[in-house]
Structures are given as structure tokens and as C-alpha cells.
């Protein structure tokens, strides 16, 4: 077969350029660690990679949401445990006042102690977390509970200015949970076992009864009511705390699941778009030797000419 000089040279330069380009692609894969640079590199894989990235972003967001919910619920739980302690202290005082025979001065002191507990409970009900009132419902920027100090009304009623409502977040695809505990329902709703009184009323009643002392004919009966009331209030708080604890445990499981998902998605993403560096390095080595061989072949084909042998 006849081989023309331009055929030879064209093919050699073309082949060498092609080998070089292949080497270039491999070294690019190695240096960037990515197999996909543009959609046409592998349209399906690129579209999958985009979908996986979206899922990953979702999982990261859900993890952040779970963490936030756990923090919020944990803070709520802590406050309610303290409220439970306050009520327990009140029950304690009521028991002591019922049993012993105390002077009016001593009962005054008990009443003052209860007064302190009332403001403590008020303070707890007005707890802020993350700059927001925990028990204000949806009205998180407003101090939810305040004492209306009216000397004419020794009852010192507590008023609720929050707005009960559900503050929800998504913790798993399609799973929305309520993270807040409503202050109105917790502190202001009457407790049936305490004669329909709310938590503050139970304490203010106790204070009033202590101030009245045994001058009142119904003193013993009143104090017994108060003891039952504080216990009922403790039960109510405990129920709420138990519910929150269950939620926190559930979120712990969700969080574990999300972490697993994150690892799986990371692996999938890597499989879709990352270069197999070990293979790329091996191929590069091979390609390098092919390239060198092509150069060598070109040199040996191009070098000799009939002209070299004619004298």
C-alpha cells in the first residue's frame, strides 16, 4: 500500500495529540477529584448528583431542625422541672402549716415564703430561651405572665398575655412536630383535681389561707385543699415533662437515622460524581507509557528517509 508523507505526519500528530488529551483528562480527574465537570460528562450521573445534593441539603436541614427542637424541648423540660420543685416546696409549707401549731408571726413568715414561690413560678413561666419567651405560645416577643398588683385585691391575679399556638418544625420528610409548650395551657388552665384552679391561683390561695390563719373557721379544710391542689399541680407538670421526655427520645432516634442517611447520601454522591482516583492514577501511568511509546514510534518513523542513504 502506498503511504504518503502527509498521511504519515498527519496521523502521527493527530494520534500524539489524542494520547496527550487523554492524559490531560486523567490528570484533571486526579487533581480535582471529580469525574463530572459538565452535564455531558454523564447526564444521568449529573442529574442524580443534583438530586442527591438536594436530599443532602434536606437531611442537613432536618438535622439542624432536630438539634434545635431538642435544645428547645430540653430547655422547656428544665424549666418545668424547676416549676415542679416550686410546687413541691409549696406543698411542703402547706403540710407543715397544717400539722404544727404556729403563731401568727410564723404563719406570716410561711405566707412570705409562698409569696417568694409565686414570684419564682412567675419568673419560670416567663423564662426566655434563645431570646424568646418559652411559654408565650406564638407571641414570643411579649412577656407572657404578669402580676397585677392591686392592693384592693389581695389575690394578686396573674394575667397571661401570650397566645397559645403550635410552633411546628419538620424533623423528617413529612413529619412535623410541635416544639413549644403553651404557657396558657400549662399555667393558666384550671386543674380539675384542684377544684378547677390554675397553678397561680393554687399558690395565691395558699398564701391567703396562711395569712388568715386559724382565725378562719375553715382553716384546716382550706389548707387540706391547698395540699391536694399543689399535688395535683405537680402531677400536671410531671405529665407534661413526661411528654416532652418522650419527644426528646424520639428525636434522638430521628437524629441517629438522619446521621445514617447523611453518610449513605455522601457515599452515593461520591459514587456519582467523584473520580476513582486509584484507577485514574493507574490509567494515567498506562497512558503515560502509551504516550511515550507513540512519541518513540513517531520519532523512528519520521527519522529515516531514502535521502539518508543516498550519496
Amino acid at each position: 500500500m502506498r503511504i504518503s508523507t502527509s498521511y504519515l505526519l498527519n496521523n502521527l500528530t493527530r494520534d500524539i495529540a489524542e494520547q496527550f488529551a487523554r492524559m490531560q483528562r486523567l490528570s484533571e480527574q486526579i487533581s480535582t477529584g471529580k469525574r463530572l465537570r459538565k452535564p455531558s460528562d454523564d447526564p444521568l450521573a449529573v442529574s442524580r448528583a443534583l438530586a442527591i445534593r438536594a436530599l443532602k441539603a434536606g437531611v442537613a436541614q432536618h438535622k439542624a431542625n432536630v438539634d434545635y427542637a431538642k435544645d428547645w424541648l430540653g430547655a422547656t423540660e428544665g424549666v418545668l422541672m424547676k416549676a415542679h420543685d416550686v410546687l413541691a416546696d409549696a406543698a411542703d409549707i402547706a403540710l407543715r402549716a397544717a400539722n404544727g401549731t404556729f403563731s401568727d408571726d410564723e404563719r406570716q413568715a410561711f405566707a412570705q415564703e409562698v409569696d417568694g414561690l409565686i414570684s419564682e413560678l412567675l419568673g419560670l413561666a416567663n423564662t426566655q430561651y434563645d431570646g424568646r419567651y418559652v411559654f408565650a405560645g406564638l407571641r414570643t416577643n411579649t412577656t407572657p405572665f404578669s402580676l397585677v398588683e392591686d392592693p384592693a385585691d389581695p389575690g394578686y391575679p396573674v394575667v397571661y398575655q401570650g397566645m397559645d399556638g403550635s410552633r411546628e418544625i419538620e424533623v423528617e420528610p413529612g413529619t412535623i412536630i410541635q416544639v413549644n409548650t403553651n404557657g396558657g395551657a400549662t399555667f393558666m388552665q384550671g386543674v380539675a383535681a384542684a377544684g378547677g384552679r390554675n397553678l397561680f391561683q393554687i399558690l395565691t390561695d395558699l398564701r391567703e389561707h396562711l395569712l388568715e390563719g386559724d382565725g378562719s373557721p375553715t382553716f384546716q379544710a382550706d389548707i387540706a385543699d391547698d395540699i391536694a391542689g399543689t399535688q395535683a399541680a405537680q402531677d400536671k407538670i410531671m405529665n407534661i415533662v413526661t411528654g416532652i421526655g418522650a419527644k426528646i427520645r424520639r428525636l434522638g432516634r430521628v437524629s441517629g437515622q438522619l446521621s445514617e442517611n447523611e453518610v449513605e447520601l455522601e457515599a452515593l454522591l461520591s459514587k456519582a460524581e467523584d473520580a476513582d482516583v486509584a484507577r485514574a492514577v493507574t490509567e494515567l501511568k498506562l497512558q503515560e507509557s502509551v504516550y511515550k511509546a507513540a512519541l518513540g514510534a513517531a520519532a523512528s518513523v519520521m527519522q529515516p528517509s531514502l535521502l539518508d542513504y543516498l550519496r
Binding site: 502506498r2 503511504i3 504518503s4 452535564p39 455531558s40 449529573v46 416577643n141
Partner: protein, 481 residues
């Protein structure tokens, strides 16, 4: 009876013939690297001999040769191969044009990326989720508005990039149309010369080389059919209309289309179009780079643009529907979130919400009840991320975008693949042509020696005959001196 000088005549013919053959070899060697050069071959032939009676004893007459001549100088060329090269050039040009344009579309989308549109969409929805958790927070509202502006900037960058590309493609087509017209004029001028030279009995081989080269280049640019007619002239057709006949040219005109997103004028089928200059009728283009670029300019590009614009509008509508129903931190209601200007084609966050435009982030409607701590509306907007809002409720925003990217990838990959395939085909034909018509230096050197030796021998022959005649003229008839 033969002349005593016949030998000298034969030697003279041999000297001239081999000198001419050496000239041909020299021309080949000189043009070994000339693009499109087709090698020449001196066809040597014995000149006509004459019959003689060789003597009484022989019954049959013999033929006495009279030497050699260059019968013709052959252009070693295969017309079929040349037409294959042109045909695969047309197909390769088409895919090259598509590949070139689609690669640029890919660059505009810039996916997959850690900082692309897909990523901005993810971050945008995550920001709504954050706001759902802390609706009272001004910093989080500000962060949301910033993410929303980033997303809008990515959308605007993409649509603007596509619109600019449409203009660039028009520019690229214009350049190529100019080149086609200038090649056509070149071919027409060569036709005229070739016809003239052929008519006086010469072979305009070098002009034919140049014309073939021009036609091959033309075939890469646009779908053509070329055929030779009488007198050595070539006719070139695009579609079924003649671009070149003889020395006359019907030029092509290009009309830039309307910008992307704007309607095609009434009565026109395609945005950008090529027409014949004589009657303004559309040119039937089936291939070549111009064909490929036109396909993308009039077909693919508007589709991708429409996809992105549909995504922008659906996103705006869905978000605004929820946003206008919600309440801002300040109790305000009814503010739109995203605005899309149909004239400038720019997506922007409403200036009411954007602090940089004198707005107030507290007007972002995160709340459904008007209470500060209520993030229900933000949660509803965040949930749009997976809602089936596009393509008649079959796919989410992000799913739709992924489909668009997958379509683009598939189109660009097909183009890249077809370029490879047709490059290989064209390469094969070009190789065949090179091997047939290209100059092989070693071969020419061998021919150089062949003709040189023949020349030397012919010169020696002349010497021999001269000596012979010397003997005859000067050495005889001296007996009587």
C-alpha cells in the same frame, strides 16, 4: 531506410522527456506540504514507431521505436473519494456546530457545582426552614432575603447568559455566512479560469486543487452538493438552489433573530434565518456548522430558556401566593416576595422586603396568624421545595431543574459523540485521499533517481551516436587521400 540521425533524435526526446519528468517530481516535492495539493504523475509513453522491412531473410516486418515523450501529466485524483469527504464534512460540521453551541450552554448552567443554581435553590429553601424556627429573628430574616437575592442573581445570570449566547450564536453564524459567500466567489472565479484554460487545451491542475480545497471547506460550513458540468466548471447547490454556477454566485443573507423569550415575528417560522439574496426565499440548510448553530439557536436554546423562565415564574407564583396571605413581623400583609419583570426579564426580591432597596425584612410574612413567634407560613413556603409544582403537578422545582440539566447533558453528549464518530469517518476518507493523492517523499526521491539515471543514459546515448557519426564522417573515405 532510416536516417542515420534517428538515434540522435531519440536521445534528444529522452533528454527532454526526463527533464520534464524531473520537473514534475520537483513540483511534487516542492508541494509535499501544500494543503489540498494532489500529486502529479508524468505519464511516459513511447512515441509512434515505424515499420521496416528488416531484411530479405525475415518474413515479418519489425517496428523501430522513435523514443519517448511525456504523454500527459496526470493529476492522481479520485472524484468519488472527494465527494465522500465533502458529504462527511457536512455531517461533521453540523455536529461540530451543535457541540460548540451546546458546550457553551453547559458552561452557562455551570452544573454540577458547589455554587450553582441547584445549590442556591437548596440554600433558599433551607433559609425558609430556619425562619420557620425563629420567625422573630431579624438576622435570620436578613439572611433569608440575602439567600433569596443570591438565588435571583443565579437565575438572572442564567437567563442573561442564554440571551447573550443567542446573540453570540447569531454573530458566529454571520461570520460563517460571510465566509461561505467569499468561498463561493472564490470558486466562481476559479470556475472561470479553469474553463478558460481547459478551452485552450491545458490542464489547470493547480487551480483544481485550490477549488477542491475551497469546496471541502465550504462543505464543513453548510450542506452543499457539488458536481462538475461541461468545460471543467463546478456547480454548487445548497438545498436545491444553486449557490455557484459558472462564474456567478447567489449569495446568502443572514437575519438575526429576535432575542430569546420574545415572540418570533408573524409569518416567520424561525427566529434566526438564512435567505437567498436574489429572491429572499429561505435557504434549505441540512448540515454544516451553520446548520448546527442554527439548530441550537432556533431550537435548543429557546427550549432551555423557556424551561428556566417557567421555573422562575412558577417559583414566583407559588411563593407569592403563600407570602401575600401571611403576616410580617409588623403585622403587615399582602406583600409579594419575588417580582419578575417581563420587560427586563429580571427576577428580584420585592423592594418592600429588601433592606438594600429601602425595604424592611420584618415584612417577610413568616406568620399565618400575625403573631411574632408563628413561623407556620415560613414552614409552608419551605415545604414548597418538594411540592409537585411543575409540569402539571408531576415534578418539584428542583426535580424540574434536574431534568433540564439532564436533557442538556444528553443533547451535548450526543453532539460530542457524533463529532467523534464523524471525525473518524472523515479522517478515514482523508487518509484514503492522502494515500492516493498525497506526496510520498521517498517515492519522489526514487523517481528523482529514476529520471536522473535515464537522463544520464540518454546523454550517454547521444555521445555514442556522436562517436558513431564521427567514425562515419571523419573516419571513412580517407583511402584515397
Amino acid at each position: 531506410m532510416r536516417s542515420a540521425f534517428l538515434g540522435l533524435e531519440i536521445a534528444r526526446r529522452a533528454l527532454l522527456t526526463h527533464q520534464r519528468a524531473l520537473d514534475v517530481v520537483a513540483h511534487n516535492i516542492a508541494n509535499a506540504a501544500t494543503p489540498g495539493y494532489v500529486r502529479r504523475e508524468p505519464v511516459l509513453a513511447a512515441t509512434e514507431g515505424f515499420v521496416v522491412e528488416t531484411g530479405a531473410g525475415f518474413k515479418r516486418p519489425g517496428t523501430v521505436g522513435t523514443g519517448v515523450e511525456v504523454a500527459r501529466i496526470k493529476r492522481v485524483f479520485d472524484g468519488f473519494l472527494e465527494s465522500r469527504i465533502r458529504q462527511s464534512g457536512v455531517t461533521l460540521g453540523l455536529w461540530e456546530g451543535r457541540h460548540d453551541a451546546l458546550s457553551q450552554v453547559e458552561a452557562i448552567f455551570g452544573e454540577p457545582s458547589d455554587v450553582g443554581l441547584a445549590d442556591a435553590l437548596n440554600k433558599f429553601f433551607a433559609a425558609w426552614d430556619e425562619l420557620a424556627k425563629r420567625p422573630e429573628s431579624i438576622p435570620i430574616r436578613t439572611a433569608l432575603v440575602e439567600e433569596a437575592k443570591t438565588l435571583a442573581a443565579f437565575f438572572n445570570q442564567t437567563t442573561r447568559g442564554l440571551r447573550d449566547l443567542a446573540r453570540d450564536l447569531d454573530e458566529g453564524i454571520t461570520t460563517r455566512i460571510d465566509e461561505i459567500n467569499s468561498l463561493a466567489s472564490e470558486i466562481a472565479a476559479q470556475n472561470r479560469e479553469i474553463v478558460r484554460i481547459t478551452a485552450i487545451g491545458n490542464d489547470p491542475a493547480d487551480l483544481k486543487d485550490k477549488r477542491d480545497l475551497a469546496i471541502a471547506r465550504l462543505s464543513r460550513l453548510i450542506s452543499i452538493r457539488a458536481f462538475e458540468v461541461g468545460g471543467g466548471s463546478v456547480v454548487i447547490e445548497v438545498g436545491s438552489t444553486e449557490l455557484v454556477r459558472g462564474d456567478s454566485v447567489n449569495e446568502l443573507n443572514f437575519t438575526s433573530g429576535t432575542p430569546l423569550g420574545e415572540p418570533i415575528p408573524a409569518g416567520e417560522v424561525e427566529a434566526s434565518r438564512v435567505s437567498w439574496s436574489d429572491d429572499g426565499s429561505p435557504v434549505d440548510i441540512r448540515g454544516g456548522e451553520v446548520g448546527g448553530l442554527l439548530q441550537v439557536r432556533n431550537g435548543d436554546l429557546p427550549t432551555y430558556y423557556k424551561d428556566v423562565e417557567n421555573l422562575i415564574k412558577a417559583l414566583r407564583d407559588e411563593i407569592n401566593a403563600l407570602h401575600t396571605a401571611g403576616f410580617g413581623l409588623d403585622g403587615s400583609q399582602g406583600a409579594e416576595f419575588y417580582l419578575y419583570d417581563d420587560a427586563t426579564r429580571v427576577l428580584s426580591v420585592s423592594s418592600v422586603l429588601d433592606p438594600d432597596a429601602g425595604g424592611d425584612v420584618s415584612r417577610v410574612a413568616a406568620s399565618k396568624t400575625g403573631e411574632a413567634g408563628d413561623g407556620a407560613n415560613a414552614l409552608a413556603i419551605a415545604s414548597l421545595k418538594d411540592a409537585l409544582t411543575m409540569s402539571g403537578g408531576t415534578v418539584s422545582f428542583r426535580g424540574f431543574y434536574q431534568q433540564t440539566i439532564a436533557n442538556l447533558g444528553t443533547d451535548a453528549r450526543q453532539a460530542a459523540y457524533m463529532v467523534q464518530v464523524h471525525e473518524a469517518t472523515l479522517h478515514q476518507y482523508t487518509n484514503n485521499k492522502d494515500n492516493l493523492s498525497g506526496v510520498a517523499i521517498d517515492e519522489e526521491v526514487a523517481n528523482l533517481m529514476r529520471y536522473q539515471r535515464a537522463y544520464e543514459a540518454a546523454a550517454r546515448l547521444a555521445t555514442v551516436i556522436d562517436q558513431m557519426l564521427d567514425t562515419l564522417i571523419n573516419g571513412t573515405g580517407i583511402v584515397g587521400r
